[in-house]
Symmetry: C2
Subunit: 216 residues, 2 copies
């Protein structure tokens, strides 16, 4: 078992993580690609931690239309309280995108003070806050993007975020189709806008490689 790449356990040695598992009531389960990892129907006191593999949180509405709400990679955490709002009765599920393994921890056990030798419990709580904060940040970042009025402004705002992290030349971290879903724009209209932005000298595009041209 490799805990070293899991942010939730950062700062806690593998041995200690192993010892902590029992008082968390942690369980491990493996899933084949395509399998349902969990179904949010109002049950969940559990937090899932992706040990390896990928999964997607999806919402299926009454018309059978499937929307991808979030993607989880190794180390990411998910759970009902962290789930997307599900005000109507649509089915929200986490589905394995590849073979994967998930650790489930009881939510209530994380917050409880631990009677055993869990010296690192507070570190875990702190890490958990950090992960939720990260998630909050990515949600608010998306709101910032969606609040832009035009597709061009949305793309530029998003590209500037990427450029700040990776430099003026970077690779899109997702497919064009997914990008269109992410910024909630029609895929063909977005492609049209990308061409137009290139024509206007704002960006250069080669496949997924983007170069953001600085304004002079």
């Amino acid at each position: 078992m490799r805990f070293s790449k899991i942010d939730l356990f950062e700062g806690i040695s593998g041995d200690d993580v192993g010892k902590m598992m029992c008082c968390f009531g942690a369980t491990f389960r493996r899933f084949k690609a395509g399998a349902t990892v969990c179904d949010y129907a109002g049950d969940g006191d559990e937090v899932g931690v992706m040990m390896y593999g990928r999964a997607a949180m999806t919402r299926t509405d009454e018309d059978g239309e499937i929307a991808v709400l979030e993607l989880f990679d190794e180390g990411d955490i998910f759970g009902e309280v962290l789930a997307f709002a599900n005000e109507n009765g649509d089915s929200v599920r986490v589905v394995a995108e590849s073979d994967c393994e998930v650790m489930f921890i009881k939510y209530s056990q994380i917050t409880k003070r631990c009677e055993n030798a869990c010296a690192h419990h507070s570190r875990l709580v702190s890490n958990m806050f950090g992960l939720i904060a990260k998630k909050t940040l990515s949600l608010s970042r998306r709101i910032e993007i969606l609040s832009k009025k035009t597709t061009r402004e949305k793309l530029l705002y998003y590209f500037r975020i990427l450029a700040k992290r990776y430099g003026d030349e970077f690779y899109l971290p997702m497919s064009v189709t997914r990008l269109a879903e992410y910024i909630c724009a029609d895929r063909s209209a977005m492609t049209r806008e990308l061409s137009s932005m290139q024509a206007d000298g704002l960006i250069e595009l080669q496949k997924k490689k983007v170069r953001l041209i600085k304004a002079v």
Copy 2:
């Protein structure tokens, strides 16, 4: 001091809250309406708790354009890790909308285990998770709304959320102008759409009173 209405301290008696204050390094400050409560410039290890009054988180961009990111009422918490993404260098601040009092707690003190008689520490951590979860939920709800393609769909989705909570007849919890900002639509275009929805028999509007007509 009234702690009874503050969700962060739910399940903890006023006396015990008072005792816990010292080990949190809590400080209290009062602000006049219009005063700056805090400025997010990368400092913050602090969480703010609104004891009474209202405040708004705002972003001011390079053109001096002010956008309201979030509103805080009594009991709400805010802090840098909970703040909106601020990728560009815009100034993000919390500004008092009325006279108010804010309690500041060191973030790191909440996660630390407490040596003193803070038997309720874990309850506090649990409450803190709950509050962050609530915030996450409201962010994702807004994303759901913004992801709708047309203004009509955005409004209907939002109205259905309100109808689920308050019944088919309810009052808008904000001004029309603020609603337009919330759903990121032009105010006049939104008003136009509201009229059109009323003409199409989807809703009835009287000032801020909305009645959602069920589809037959």
